[in-house]
């Protein structure tokens, strides 16, 4: 396992930022840490990087104890923060060389890795461009290249794609998939539900707790098994329709929401109840990770925390 934690907890005064998070991430995984701002993602990542001591519980990252071997962990991981820490007044090559030096790479190895990273970031021919002049998407690729110039076995990415356009985002995820195929383990935090689809494993964080874990397919399958199917239709008066069906949990309609010009409902069983079915032409849709997340948040109050394996 690249990451293993048991009951990882962190308090700040009376506030519990991370509450008994138990995780197991195999080597080579792309693990998505999904949750809204303030749900404890960054605090967990900082503990895993050995930057912040847990209040209780323990964990190992690439085989090292996070409470006692922080220094060893930091040499073997790469970390890319939301705010790309690049020097805007240095060139592309200078930024990479600076990071390679910081990680203590020797001369020959440094040249070799800087060259490889220029290839990875697709910046050949632009080595001498000043970083401040690059677009957001290109800066993101360079920031990733700097974070992994020392060829770490584990990579932490904290909300790496905020503000980047979708085409650049897709391209970024191809690079992440390449790194994972080469054997690196990647842990990415994000609050984009659609982005989570790029991960091989997911953990849903909310209020410091891990609500659920699994592959994107597993999480969706489990939602369908535990609740029901998702249907979509155009109805003339969506709001009127919403107000007519009752969502008290005892009926067959478990959730209903407006989706653009259509309405979506999550209903128990294989088919819709007759009164609802007759109202419109319903088509079944694949549940989204947002449906999964919303379901877990709504049903989490007071439940036992699950043990998670990715």
């Amino acid at each position: 396992m690249a990451v293993e934690t048991d009951g990882l907890t962190r308090d700040f005064g009376a506030f519990r930022a991370v509450d008994h998070v138990t995780l197991a991430i195999p080597r080579g995984a792309i693990f998505g840490f999904l949750g809204p701002n303030g749900s404890g993602k960054t605090t967990t990542i900082r503990m895993l990087c050995g930057l912040l001591r847990p209040s209780s519980g323990d964990g190992r990252v690439v085989g090292c104890d996070i409470a006692r071997e922080g220094e060893a962990i930091r040499r073997r991981i790469g970390y890319m923060s939301q705010k790309f820490s690049l020097y805007d007044d240095l060139t592309v090559a200078e930024n990479l060389t600076f990071y390679a030096g910081m990680y203590g790479l020797g001369n020959a190895r440094r040249r070799e890795r800087v060259d490889a990273m220029i290839g990875l970031a697709d910046l050949r021919g632009r080595e001498r461009v000043v970083t401040g002049a690059l677009s957001c998407g290109v800066r993101q690729r360079l920031a990733l290249a700097c974070a992994i110039v020392h060829e770490p076995e584990m990579i932490f990415l904290d909300e790496p794609t905020s503000g980047v356009d979708p085409a650049a985002r897709r391209r970024f995820w191809e690079t992440i998939a390449d790194l994972s195929e080469e054997g690196a383990t990647v842990m990415v935090s994000t609050h984009f539900m659609d982005e989570a689809e790029h991960c091989t494993g997911l953990g849903l964080m909310y209020s410091g707790r891990m609500l659920a874990c699994g592959t994107p397919e597993e999480l969706k399958r489990r939602l369908v098994a535990e609740t029901g199917r998702l249907w979509q239709a155009r109805v003339r008066d969506s709001i009127g329709f919403l107000d007519r069906i009752h969502l008290d949990g005892s009926g067959s309609v478990l959730d209903a929401y407006i989706f653009g010009s259509s309405i979506r409902i999550l209903a128990r069983g294989d088919s819709l109840p007759a009164d609802v079915a007759g109202e419109a032409d319903w088509e079944e849709r694949e549940v989204t990770l947002e449906d999964v997340f919303v379901h877990h948040v709504r049903s989490s109050a007071g439940k036992e925390v699950r043990k998670c394996g990715a």
């Binding site: 792309i30 949750g35 809204p36 701002n37 303030g38 749900s39 677009s135 957001c136 998407g137 290109v138 503000g163 980047v164 356009d165 979708p166 085409a167 650049a168 897709r170 995820w173 191809e174 998939a177 195929e181 609050h191 984009f192 539900m193 659609d194 689809e197 790029h198 991960c199 091989t200 909310y206 592959t215 994107p216 397919e217 008066d237 969506s238 709001i239 929401y257 407006i258 989706f259 653009g260 010009s261 694949e286 989204t288 947002e290 997340f293 919303v294 948040v297 709504r298």
Partner: protein, 301 residues
């Protein structure tokens, strides 16, 4: 209700808006969709009337003439702009006085909006102590207190959790049903699907416009999702002739041209020694369309 014609905007040397035209009809939920830096906030500010185009026009037409146009619209900025040291009720009361509303009307309207947003139990809580989702709901309530015909929101879904985001969209749809036209910007492609009509903005230009269904319907290719327990699906597709591939966890989405794509993909995988792949067609998303258009239209330098 809103008509933009060949709008250009320069900030010094920066050409932020490069000839944008669109129409947003009364009663719609209209989305201005694009990544950071595409020009979304600039366009919203022009609609609200606090910024002028360098050339071109942005017109907002109300029923029965444009008198006091600004009083007939509401604006929710991207950054929370209410008073953090005032309570929810105090904030609404302050705004009602700014709008020149009578005390009775202000009280009735505040009750109605607190009920709509689900904030009724928290009237005395300081705005600074609200969660991101609750702040956003309060900002919306303040912006529609004076019953505007148009409400403009800059990225209302950014940084809020998915449950709050659903709630916020529920509030917007309910306002819309009462006749309020809604213009909203977003950088999230899944949020764009919640709009009735939208424009895709990229580097100051409109790449595409229409309803989400229309836009997805114009995607010229099919998308196949290939899944396999055998490793190497991605690598084997490097030399598969197709407009694009993207990795999604244990699956790869392959964009194919023509009706025989399924057969060609299966044969290609089999030649690479992958016999257990499941291949199914999936509908294109707005993100697929955007990626295709942004890839063709501009180079990311």
């Amino acid at each position: 209700m809103i008509a933009a014609r060949d709008v250009q905007k320069f900030y010094g040397d920066v050409h932020a808006i490069r000839g944008v035209s669109f129409d947003a009809e009364r009663g719609t939920v209209f989305g201005i969709v694009g990544p950071d830096g595409a020009g979304k906030t600039t366009l919203l500010r022009m609609i609200v009337g606090v910024l002028s185009p360098s050339s071109g026009t942005v017109r907002v037409a109300f029923d029965g003439g444009d008198g006091e146009a600004r009083r007939r619209m509401g604006y929710v900025a991207g950054k929370f702009s209410l008073y953090e040291d005032l309570s929810i009720l105090e904030n609404l009361s302050l705004f009602s006085r700014l709008y020149g509303m009578s005390e009775n009307r202000a009280k009735a309207r505040a009750d109605e909006l607190l009920d709509l947003t689900g904030l009724s139990p928290f009237g005395d809580r300081l705005a600074g102590r609200l969660s991101g989702g609750m702040r956003q709901k309060l900002a919306i309530a303040a912006a529609v207190l004076h019953e505007p015909e148009l409400i403009v929101l800059d990225e209302p879904g950014t940084g809020v959790d998915p449950v709050s985001r659903r709630d916020i969209w529920g509030v917007l749809y309910r306002l819309n049903r009462k006749g309020v036209t809604i213009v909203v910007s977003t950088s999230y492609m899944d949020e764009a699907e919640l709009c009735m009509r939208l424009i895709f903005l990229h580097e100051g230009r409109v790449l595409e416009s229409g309803t989400p269904d229309e836009i997805c319907g114009r995607f010229p290719y099919r998308i196949l999702r290939a899944r396999s327990e055998t490793p190497g699906v991605r690598k084997s597709l490097v030399d598969f002739p197709c407009p694009g591939t993207s990795s999604f966890g244990h699956s790869v989405h392959v964009v194919v041209d023509g009706d025989d794509g399924d057969r060609r993909l299966r044969e290609h995988l089999e030649r690479a020694g992958i016999f257990d792949a499941t291949v199914d067609a999936i509908p294109p998303t707005l993100e697929d369309v955007f990626v295709l258009l942004a890839g063709n239209g501009a180079h990311h330098s």
